[in-house]
Symmetry: C2
Subunit: 131 residues, 2 copies
Amino acid sequence: MLKYSRQRESIKEFLMNSHDHPTADTVYSAIRIQYPNISLGTVYRNLSLLASTGEITKITCGDGADRFDADTHPHYHFLCDRCGHLEDMPMDPIGGLDELAKNFYQGRISGHQTFFYGTCPGCLKKEKEKA
Amino acid sequence: MLKYSRQRESIKEFLMNSHDHPTADTVYSAIRIQYPNISLGTVYRNLSLLASTGEITKITCGDGADRFDADTHPHYHFLCDRCGHLEDMPMDPIGGLDELAKNFYQGRISGHQTFFYGTCPGCLKKEKEKA
DNA sequence: TCAATAATAAAAATCATTACTATTATTGTA
DNA sequence: TACAATAATAGTAATGATTTTTATTATTGA
């Protein structure tokens, strides 16, 4: 049975106002302003909990720590291989991919994640300046 | 300047004959049969190196350790949320997504990765048997 | 054959995340 | 409101994957 906690509410609210896919540690730092005694374990536990209920999405992109996103609408991400910056891709995702996949796979498909990788505009600019 | 190493060749060959997306530790165990003194650090370094040259692909799916795949053709993966099994999706990927994305994004896009998640046929069966 | 240097083994260090435990907060009920 | 049950917490220790360090070994071009 799930019980209310002010820490969890605070974490959720912070994430809903974030649009830069913070890591657990970033969330921890932010929540600490309001709840100086919150522990990192509490942050991790609640982020996992919120992800398991589908209220937020956990993004594992292979670049260090996992990121979290309160925007659960289907959308693509882009990961810069230079600066590690993760951002939303400004494009509509291809629709119906899960449904299509169900025609080819016997298991239960609950969703998918797509992320692009490459070099972000900022790092591209720096690269050109050096050359 | 890149120098030949028998360990790297062995790692690459093992991966080319694997089709189950082994972790670094699994590769380590396998290579140790031939090279009992190889160190895990060497395995990690060479896997990273091979991934950076594009000879293999590193798959970070958020379930424990990273996996490695010598099949670099574009294809989707499926991760079971029960047993953690990672497998290839038996379907052709949507073509031209990178090109499409380039129309919407200012940076350099070098590729993308898509993985589906849900429950694999085996775990689905176990679930039904219990109920 | 030799010098330069990339790659290695082995071990220690780091980083993200999870587990543990005693205490505190929440909740349904009397 | 008071109380008992128990979920959640803080603080800390432990874990697991990966990276770094360093002295030694292997590869390579001259």
